[in-house]
Symmetry: C2
């Protein structure tokens, strides 16, 4: 637990340092077998890449370090409550655990909460603010896309 | 609607081409004001980056094209049902609409469905397969992280 608190402090220190440089106040580290293997800060301001959240960049760095798309056995320590994109990314990459320090309630007065996005994405597709449509278009004369992929693997 | 079908066909054609090259069978294009501004395929196999989904890479390409982290007014056309990470990324980037052709039901027999991840992420944090913890750690002697960020902006 003390070690977990230390990793969380490192993520928070990254967030402070990023804010001092004019970036958004978010940092994250990834740990495997008790060892820090990746760290990142939010880089949206510098890159204008809307996906450049600390957690997502840390996942990418950890996959490079491990030379694997699977982050099984890895834990994420994030300064703030991860957004839906990052939570999905961690879940899909096989992250075992995520710990965060600042909550969405802490973030709300500063316009940094993702609670609204969470609530929106939890609604049925037809009720969300982003319009989501399923059009079962197919390319004529082609075998099924996924069956074709399975054949080629 | 016909133009929408054409954009969806382009996304599907990208998915077929990626499968032929040994990649995963997913493609996506992004459209603004009726014009295709970005396209991408799933690059996980080649890069071992677990975030290299077609939609996420298309978002990154569109933000570079527009030189903006906001993709307001943009629509995504994806060959397959977007995963939770990509759905979150699109929602957070301000994407207006997303249209997909192959459903999770189509994908399920091939192990490509994200329905299980959706169901897991929809549960309360304490019931999800990934362990999610909130530890309200703070750095001693520092002002509040988010208040400090607001002062520095």
């Amino acid at each position: 637990m003390n070690q977990d608190t230390d990793f969380l402090r490192q993520a928070i220190a990254l967030a402070y340092a990023n804010a001092e440089r004019g970036g958004r106040p978010f940092g994250a580290v990834i740990v495997k077998d008790g060892k820090l293997i990746a760290q990142a800060v939010n880089e949206i301001v510098g890159t204008k890449d809307p996906t450049a959240h600390a957690e997502l960049l840390a996942i990418r760095a950890a996959s490079r370090y491990l030379d694997s798309a699977s982050l099984e056995g890895c834990s994420v320590f994030a300064s703030g409550h991860p957004c839906p994109m990052c939570m999905g990314a961690m879940r899909m990459a096989g992250i075992e655990a995520v710990t965060y320090a600042y909550s969405n309630e802490d973030a709300d007065p500063f316009g940094l909460s993702t609670a609204e996005a969470y609530a929106d994405l939890a609604k049925p597709f037809e009720e969300q603010s982003m319009r989501i449509r399923h059009l079962p278009v197919r390319l004529e004369g082609e075998p099924d896309l996924y069956a074709r992929w399975q054949q080629r693997r």
